[in-house]
């Protein structure tokens, strides 16, 4: 820790910082915890989708306070969450219904509370106005997320026509729980799936093999721990040189360590062989391993370019090809999961990271392209896009720059590796069958990015 950093975090420094508007960031609610206060459900029409999903989650809900006059009425006690069923909203005029329930709720929400809007997506032939409204809801979501304080977040879920409460269950559970702590201002899609679930499992991955690359440290180690907590049998993969910490992670989660360079030609085959020896197939392949070789483009040579693109993008495509071959023992199971790790640097662009951005935006493109092709086998393909996460890697960024990055999002802090891991845990949950081809940013609504 630099002298400047020490001074900043000293008692005097904290006071000065607070005066300068750099208040202590809120402590986020994490883990499999629901909001403390009441969950308020606001159906803006006759749909019972969200009501039925909440019932399936075992969560009681209350009626909303509706703002009708000039004096905004308030909630007595702080509420834990407002969940809006906007699946019947089709016209611009109906957006007023949203305002009327949001205004009291935003004022009365607890710390780390949740605003969740469930709506129909645009582009489904419901008409011009319906499409405009669907996009308008996204604008509302992003703005509410920026206005919320104290670690509260907003999320928009596009539930496609035909989505059942069982299909929506894992998503609504994730969004309401502390697992989604650093997911803010985001929207993604849930499609109908043959999901036979009727409750949110505590250990949804019980006995399932999950392979995590780059598992020796940082986000990868957190993914291994989180998936193991959810019951998974972990195969922890990292380069041989990282073997010591890889072994420690594998032993901690009761899994196995596989020392492997993912860029090797036989990487996919070796992963499959390791799993096949245990007589099983892979439930989830989490492509977390990644490297940076940052330089401004004018200083980026072919070697810096090639290694980043190969490790971060090309290697996972080669591995996927092997694991997706049904004839390969120890490959990906039907109804399995593939996870890519993109980055807000890729989605938004970041100075000095052309190679990294190419690879990480590439991952986003990859999962979107793969998802429909693998739908028939029940395999979902998704990506998470971390923003500023507190890891050994980001700890090397100079302090002032790091502090700026940290605070450049709606939650005024860096995320924890576990926040990325929890989001992946949600996506690989068998109950998340209807979520595929999505890129979920775990960035606290970073100011930059899509």
């Amino acid at each position: 820790m630099s002298a400047l950093e020490k001074a900043f975090y000293s008692p005097v420094g904290r006071k000065v910082a607070a005066k300068a508007g750099l208040a202590e960031p809120p402590r986020l609610r994490r883990g499999r915890t629901f909001p403390h206060g009441a969950i308020v459900l606001a159906p803006l029409g006759g749909s019972t989708l969200v009501a039925d999903t909440l019932t399936m989650l075992g969560r009681a809900y209350e009626s909303p306070v509706i703002d009708t006059g000039d004096d905004a009425p308030g909630y007595g006690d702080r509420i834990g969450a407002l969940v809006v069923d906007a699946t019947d909203v089709r016209t611009a005029a109906e957006l007023e219904g949203l305002r009327a329930v949001l205004r009291p709720a935003v004022r009365g929400i607890e710390r780390s509370g949740r605003i969740v809007v469930v709506a129909r997506p645009g582009g489904t032939g419901a008409g011009w106005e319906a499409d405009a409204v669907a996009r308008g809801l996204d604008g509302i979501n992003r703005t509410v997320a920026k206005e919320l304080r104290g670690g509260a977040t907003a999320t928009l879920v596009y539930a496609h026509e035909g989505v059942t409460p069982g299909d929506l269950l894992s998503t609504l559970g994730f969004v309401l729980q502390g697992r989604s702590a650093f997911v803010d201002g985001q929207s993604w899609h849930v499609r109908p799936a043959a999901t036979a679930v009727d409750e949110l499992a505590e250990r949804p991955l019980e006995g399932k093999v999950c392979v995590v690359t780059g598992a020796a440290r940082g986000i990868g180690a957190a993914i291994a721990r989180t998936l193991a907590r959810d019951g998974a049998i972990i195969v922890a993969v990292d380069i041989p040189a990282a073997g010591e910490s890889l072994a420690a992670v594998a032993n901690e989660v009761g899994g196995t360590a596989l020392q492997l360079d993912i860029t090797a030609d036989d990487a996919g085959a070796r992963i499959a062989a390791h799993v096949a020896a245990r007589g099983v197939r892979i439930h989830a392949m989490v492509h977390n391993a990644g490297i940076t070789r940052d330089k401004m483009l004018v200083n980026t040579d072919a070697a810096r370019w090639g290694s980043v693109v190969d490790v971060n993008l090309a290697a996972q495509m080669r591995i996927n090809e092997v694991l997706l071959d049904s004839a390969v023992e120890g490959g990906l199971a039907d109804d399995g999961r593939i996870i890519g790790v993109a980055s807000t640097s890729g989605l938004a662009g970041n100075k000095g990271q052309t190679n990294y951005a190419a690879s990480k935006a590439g991952v986003a493109g990859l999962v979107i392209s793969m998802a429909p092709d693998l739908a028939e086998r029940g395999i979902t393909v998704n990506a998470v896009a971390p923003g500023f996460i507190e890891t050994d890697m980001t700890a090397r960024i100079p302090f002032v720059q790091r502090e700026v990055f940290r605070r450049s999002n709606s939650l005024s802090q860096g995320g924890s590796p576990v926040d990325v891991a929890e989001t992946i845990g949600y996506l690989v949950d068998p109950a998340s069958q209807g979520v595929t081809g999505q890129v979920v940013r775990v960035c606290g609504q970073n100011l930059v990015g899509a």
Partner: protein, 422 residues
């Protein structure tokens, strides 16, 4: 053997020169690291393993329960029993046979054999007179008696004694003994340097092809064997000055093993246990033989494995030609060369009670992934290094491939073992 015993995995930390990167690591630390890497590779975290047998040659008195203590520090279940064994440089092979024999007899269905040594963290002893005085003082019943005991201390008593790798009965160091053997068997300098260079080149090749990806776990930032010199050559080795055998000696620092730090472990099991735990058996332990020679009477200190090899092959009805791979521990390049010469010497073999010469081997089958000259030789770890490496090499060649391990040891002893790929 009643139950088939198979090698299902192994792990070691990279070996390093004494006083190098592991200078601050103890036997306990390194053995724990080797065990933890094995546990991670084989998915045994939290498991109660049947038994762990380990050992070290250079051992501190408070390490009397070294292996058990390392187990307690490891990711294994604390209910895993352990014991320490010691047979000088053959310790790691002897622990392997101890566990293998128990499995063969049905006393265990799996176990871990290990070995570790730190030449960096060697115990320093006080002189014998000082030790006697201190013991006398601790027995004293009064202050006066205690003072009387302390009054006997002389300055000369205070010099610390580092352990000497010397034979108690001859006073000669191992290198000095081997120098006699080298001369007796007429082993020339170039042959030794050739063997040493090959050891480095083959080890480097094995690292390059990823052979050690599932045999070694990095430790303290060291990711490869630190003694390895991939670019060494007979020419470079030829420039080194003699270290043993006087100014005309042929043994140098380059063709003798360096004092090293390291630890290794190997997982042994019945085939059934391996199948239940989804582990691929590499090779089975077929047989082993131990032998000793009368080195105080003038026999070659490090050639005891020759007699063991002859008896083992005879018992198994095999000849040298039936063996696909040989692992002869490179204590010194000249030890290996003298061993090979002895195998072919009819008179010598008959003097050991064998029916005739053991025979000559194809050098392409010898130490194909390098050996102690390039890897290093933390005494007790070497056997536990060789067993899983050879088992994997045999497995790569296919079922039925046979491999012979020959390890010489201080005290004029040697242990030989036979493995066969499954």
């Amino acid at each position: 053997m009643h139950h088939k015993v198979v090698v299902v995995g192994g792990n070691r930390i990279p070996f390093a020169k004494a006083g190098g990167p592991y200078a601050q690591a103890s036997n306990h630390d390194m053995l724990t690291a080797a065990l933890d890497g094995l546990v991670a590779r084989t998915g045994l975290s939290g498991a109660r393993v049947g038994e762990v047998a380990g050992g070290a040659v250079l051992k501190h008195p408070n390490d009397f329960n070294l292996t058990r203590e390392a187990v307690l520090s490891s990711a294994l279940a604390p209910e895993t029993p352990a014991c320490d064994l010691q047979q000088a440089c053959a310790t790691g092979l002897e622990t392997t046979m101890y566990i293998a024999n128990k499995i063969a007899l049905g006393q265990l269905d799996h176990g871990i054999a290990a070995g570790v040594d730190s030449a960096s963290d060697a115990p320093i002893a006080v002189s014998d007179p000082l030790r006697r005085i201190l013991l006398e003082a601790s027995r004293a019943r009064s202050a006066k008696q205690r003072l009387a005991a302390f009054a006997k201390i002389r300055p000369s008593h205070l010099a610390p004694l580092a352990p000497r790798v010397a034979e108690p009965r001859t006073g000669l160091s191992m290198g000095e003994h081997q120098a006699v053997t080298t001369t007796r068997w007429g082993i020339d300098r170039e042959a030794q340097d050739l063997l040493a260079a090959a050891s480095h080149h083959r080890l480097a090749e094995a690292w390059d092809r990823g052979f050690f990806d599932d045999l070694v776990t990095p430790y303290l930032g060291v990711t490869k064997d630190a003694l390895l010199r991939p670019d060494t050559s007979v020419e470079k080795l030829g420039g080194l000055k003699p270290a043993f055998g006087g100014p005309d000696g042929s043994m140098t620092a380059g063709n003798s093993t360096a004092l090293s730090d390291g630890a290794a472990a190997v997982l042994l099991a019945t085939e059934e246990w391996a199948a239940e735990h989804h582990l691929t058996p590499w090779a089975r332990i077929v047989d082993a033989e131990v032998a000793a020679v009368d080195h105080p009477g003038g026999a070659d200190l490090l050639l005891a494995p020759v007699g063991a090899t002859g008896r083992l092959l005879a018992r198994q009805g095999l000849t040298v030609d039936d063996i696909d791979l040989f692992e002869i521990h490179e204590a010194f390049a000249s030890t290996v060369l003298a061993t090979l010469a002895a195998w072919q010497d009819e008179d010598y073999c008959r003097s050991l009670g064998l029916d005739g010469p053991i025979g000559s081997l194809d050098r392409e089958k010898l130490n194909v992934a390098g050996s102690s000259l390039a890897v290093g030789h933390p005494f007790a770890a070497t056997g536990a290094r060789i067993v899983p490496s050879l088992a994997k090499l045999l497995h790569e060649r296919g079922p039925g491939s046979r491999g012979l391990i020959s390890v010489c040891a201080a005290g004029g002893q040697g242990v030989v073992a036979l493995l066969e790929a499954v």
